[in-house]
């Protein structure tokens, strides 16, 4: 426990989030590994994440299928392959809106906004930290346990969305996005990669 106490002073959640702020537009390639009880093996998707300012997020999937999702102020536009774009209003699902608002605030480095929708805890030290965002909205809580961000210094390595039913989607970003994925592809191995395991290999 002692090292944790010693480090606690160093990693202030607010400062970490502040440090995540990038110049706009911020873009990063990602590799997403989805673990689901519905799947018999993990699904790997690759593409690009985009942050264009408060409330504006973009996610492009390049493989295994083509999809572009843009979120502007609660309006989600979904474009798949050559199909007509679909508009989905998040007003119908308020818990999702809170989720995306929090996510967007996280990328924008807006601590206050993150804390409105999530309970914020942090652990680790500056070289290897973890932020945990647990939703405050009881409806969202039923669906999502937490969003976790792993990183070192002022850059994030992984964004993990931990579903309430134990499914998880782990997005490896920046440096890790292009790294080779561990074999066999298990959740534990991917998680340890997020904590610097791959870099250490």
């Amino acid at each position: 426990m002692l090292p944790y106490l010693a480090n606690a002073a160093d990693i202030d959640a607010a400062a970490l989030i502040g440090g995540l702020k990038r110049e706009l537009p911020a873009r990063t390639a990602y590799t997403e590994v989805r673990f689901s009880h519905m799947y018999d093996h993990a699904l790997i998707a690759r593409g690009e994440l985009e942050y264009l300012g408060p409330g504006q997020l973009g996610k492009r999937v390049d493989s295994p299928y083509q999809e572009t999702t843009t979120i502007v102020d609660g309006e989600v536009t979904l474009q798949r392959g050559k199909r007509k774009p679909r508009q989905i209003s998040l007003e119908r699902v308020p818990e999702l809106e809170g989720f995306l608002r929090g996510f967007s605030a996280l990328l924008g480095g807006d601590v206050a906004a993150v804390q409105r929708d999530f309970e914020l805890t942090s652990s680790g030290d500056t070289s290897q930290w973890r932020l945990r965002l647990a939703p405050r909205d009881p409806r969202l809580k039923k669906r999502i346990d937490a969003i976790e961000v792993d990183g070192s210094a002022d850059s994030a390595r992984c964004f993990s969305i931990l579903d309430a039913d134990d499914d998880a989607s782990i997005m490896l970003v920046e440096g890790l996005a292009t790294a080779t994925l561990p074999e066999p592809l298990t959740r534990r191995k991917v998680e340890s990669a997020c904590r610097g395991g791959v870099a250490a290999q």
């Binding site: 689901s36 519905m38 799947y39 699904l43 999809e67 119908r92 308020p94 499914d167 989607s169």
Partner: protein, 777 residues
């Protein structure tokens, strides 16, 4: 027993009988507020449907609710608990606030989704369709909506439940914020459907109370949050309350005025109380007669009946004014009785015509008025004189009365005046430009402009169906209605596309016909085929083996289900909606489609022609107006007969053409003048005007009868004038006040009677016979 004792015993006995009758009627009589019992039997098919649907059409049972006064999140929270409370309340058949309601199809009915959904009509559920759907699900699981979809996927990988929910959501869905409906102005919106008919004020009042109670419970600590209700049922309650409130308020003023008038005229408190007994007896007798004959009484009968019974107030006033020294009250009333009896008999005989009309409401009115007038008349003749105190003031000695009499007598009575007035009246009638009849009964009890505006705003924001139009789909049975509405629904879609109508909901939107369901069933793959296509469709996808077993089971179940009928569907919330849209009428069935945002009713004509009127637009307003017109025709016919009977009675009573003419001519001319003034002022006539004209004519008959009576005794002539003046002033007190009312219905009655009283009084003096005794003093 002394005379005083006898009086007291009789009085106590009289009041005792009234109390017993009151107790009897309160116990037996049910007051109905349903407009239909006051309506004539319907003639056309549309009228028949209207009679059934008036207030029961899906649109008119809707109440629109808006909550404001807190921030969005709190309003949404209130909306959620409010809608839950309303759903549990038996007053409402439906309560929605925009929340996605996965319970729309209950567990038991879930396999039916493959029979209800049109997803596989164009391309059947085969390997390529399934592969496409499954790969979309993989993509969905990577999207923000993943956590919502996950619970549905194993059972419903093609998302039929979502597609049905979308199909069943209101065609013009409002804005959704924080999961519930909001107006552009930021109020949380809800839509509830009452079980009670829209135009039943009593039942709607209960429903509205239930809404307020549910809201108070739901808003909890949010004391600032306030609720606004709108919709036809709410307006019915509101208009009823404001009409009652205003007439009670005006009634109180005129009662005070009436009391002051009687005190001034007769200078006795005891007389004041006793004079009320005959009319109270008459009213009670009328109500009791209806209780005995019909059991229920319509609110309108009661209101109209009390208005018409106003004539009876004349009877005690005549007696009181005509008392004179050296004569007991009994002797005075004997002297008056022939005239009073003529008045009572002619009115009663005239009202017999209403009894013959065949319309329950009018028959009740006749029973009420006839028994009321008879009891008021006979109690004035046989009871009132026996309880009046022996001491009285001779009305002939009222100061100033002699001067008024002399002035009235000295007025010129040119013979050319009546024809001139008639000519002027004809000119005025001819120059009126407004329609003669007001067929829209709602125009008489209008809803305040700002509430109408709010109603329009909320209705538009909620996309709620039109109250005025229904799309009728008629067939031999329920299945036929569903088949026909499936057949015409592309045509309706085309009308929507060309802008003739904002949206329309046909019964087939909620339940496909048996034929369609069977066709869908027959195209579903069997278990083996589905398992094979599932295996190859998901070969390249990460889904684990056996994940979709619940889906395979449901499809297999769906293949052998007995198709859904409205009855089998009825237990679910959507089933309740389809049940409300299908009505059995005699040996055939009607589907009631709702219309949202009607732009061009004429565009539906072609559809009606093509389907031989099996699919047609019903304009409830048009149908109700034609019903009112038909109703009025019957009333007018009754009036025609009543006039003939009245004239005959007066002639028979007098057995003298000349005298009868002097009674009937001023009455007729005065009635024509009232009509002329009303029409010249731009008034379109309604039933209420007709009732008021009848009352005025009844009063006019009294004035004419008594002024026509010549007497050599100047004092007796002054007593006649006294009685008539008290009657005229008391009638004006009541009805001139009503004429100032803000409500057109009260104004119509008040203005008509006031004008009538004025004209009848003046003309009965100016057209009276010459050669009456002049006052010497």
């Amino acid at each position: 027993m002394t005379a005083a004792m006898r009086r007291l015993v009789l009085l106590v006995g009289w009041i005792g009988v009234l109390a017993v009758v009151t107790a009897y009627t309160v116990h037996t009589l049910k007051l109905s507020t349903d407009l239909r019992s006051f309506m004539p039997p319907a003639q056309t098919a549309d009228q028949k449907l209207l009679m059934e649907q008036i207030g029961e059409g899906p649109g008119s049972r809707l109440l629109l609710l808006a909550i404001s006064g807190a921030d969005e999140a709190r309003l949404a929270e209130i909306s959620r608990s409010f809608v839950a409370a309303l759903r549990a309340d038996p007053h409402f058949s439906q309560a929605i606030n925009g929340e996605f309601d996965a319970g729309m199809l209950d567990e038991r009915l879930l396999p039916y989704r493959y029979l209800l959904s049109s997803s596989f009509d164009e391309a059947p559920l085969d390997e390529s369709v399934l592969a496409d759907e499954l790969s979309q699900r993989v993509e969905d699981l990577g999207s923000p909506a993943a956590t919502l979809l996950k619970p549905l996927l194993p059972r419903d990988p093609t998302l039929e439940i979502m597609k049905l929910a979308e199909r069943w959501s209101p065609p013009k869905a409002p804005l959704v914020r924080d999961g519930v409906w909001f107006s552009p102005e930021g109020e949380a919106l809800l839509l509830v459907q009452t079980r009670a008919a829209g135009f039943d004020p009593a039942a709607q009042g209960e429903a509205i109370d239930a809404i307020h109670a549910a809201f108070d419970a739901s808003r909890g600590a949010q004391a600032d949050a306030s609720l606004v209700i709108s919709g036809p049922g709410y307006f019915t309650v509101l208009v009823n309350a404001s009409t009652r409130g205003e007439s009670e308020w005006l009634g109180r003023i005129s009662t005070v005025g009436f009391i002051v008038l009687l005190l001034l005229a007769y200078r006795s408190v005891a007389v004041l109380g006793l004079a009320a007994l005959p009319i109270a007896s008459g009213a009670l007798a009328g109500v009791a007669a209806i209780a005995a004959v019909f059991g229920t009484m319509h609110g309108i009968t009661l209101a109209f009946g009390f208005t018409l019974l106003g004539v009876a107030q004349e009877y005690p006033i005549r007696l009181l004014s005509h008392r004179r020294a050296g004569e007991t009250a009994l002797e005075s009333v004997r002297g008056l009785w022939p005239l009073l009896l003529t008045a009572i008999a002619s009115a009663c005989i005239a009202y017999l015509a209403f009894f013959a009309s065949g319309v329950t409401g009018l028959m009740q009115l006749a029973v009420f008025t006839i028994s009321g007038l008879l009891v008021a008349g006979f109690s004035t003749r046989y009871l009132l004189p026996r309880v009046l105190p022996a001491k009285f003031r001779d009305a002939a000695d009222t100061p100033g009365l002699g001067a008024v009499w002399n002035w009235l007598e000295s007025l010129p009575r040119p013979r050319w005046l009546p024809p001139l007035l008639l000519a002027i009246a004809a000119l005025m009638l001819g120059s009126a430009s407004t329609p003669f009849w007001q067929n829209d009964l709602a125009a008489l009890t209008p809803v305040p402009q700002d509430l109408m505006k709010r109603e329009g705003r909320l209705r538009a924001a909620l996309g709620a169906p039109d109250v005025r139009y229904l799309l009728i789909v008629e067939a031999a049975d329920a299945e036929g209605v569903l088949e026909l509405s499936e057949k015409v629904s592309p045509r309706i879609d085309a009308l929507v596309a060309q802008g003739a109508v904002g949206a329309a909901e046909l019964p087939s939107r909620y339940l496909p016909s048996l034929a369609t369901q069977r066709a869908r069933q027959s195209r579903l793959p069997d278990r083996a085929a589905l398992e094979t296509m599932l295996a190859s469709a998901s070969a390249d996808l990460p889904f684990r083996q056996g994940l979709f077993a619940p889906f395979v089971d449901d499809v297999e179940t769906a293949r052998s289900l007995e198709p859904l009928t409205p009855a089998r569907f009825a237990s679910s919330p959507i089933g309740a909606r389809i049940e409300a849209m299908l009505v059995k009428r005699g040996d055939h069935w009607l589907g009631l489609g709702t219309i949202i945002g009607m732009q061009d009713p004429a565009a539906f004509d072609a559809l009606a022609t093509e389907t031989n009127d099996a699919v047609r637009l019903l304009d409830l307003k048009g149908a109700s107006e034609s019903l009112v017109a038909a109703y009025r025709e019957r009333i007018l016919r009754a009036f025609g007969i009543a006039i003939v009977l009245l004239v005959a009675t007066v002639f028979i009573a007098f057995r003298d053409l000349h005298r009868a003419w002097h009674v009937l001519a001023p009455m007729t001319l005065a009635t024509i003048l009232v009509l002329a003034v009303l029409r010249f002022g731009g008034t379109s006539l309604s039933l209420f005007h007709l009732v008021a004209l009848t009352l005025a004519a009844g009063l006019g008959l009294h004035y004419a009868l008594f002024f026509e009576r010549t007497t050599p005794d100047a004092a007796e002539a002054r007593r006649t004038l006294h009685a008539t003046l008290v009657c005229v002033i008391s009638a004006l007190l009541v009805f001139a006040l009503l004429a100032w009312s803000s409500l057109p219905v009260l104004r119509a009655i008040g203005l008509t009677v006031s004008l009538g009283v004025g004209f009848h009084f003046c003309l009965s003096i100016l057209m009276a016979r010459k050669g009456r005794a002049r006052d010497a003093g």
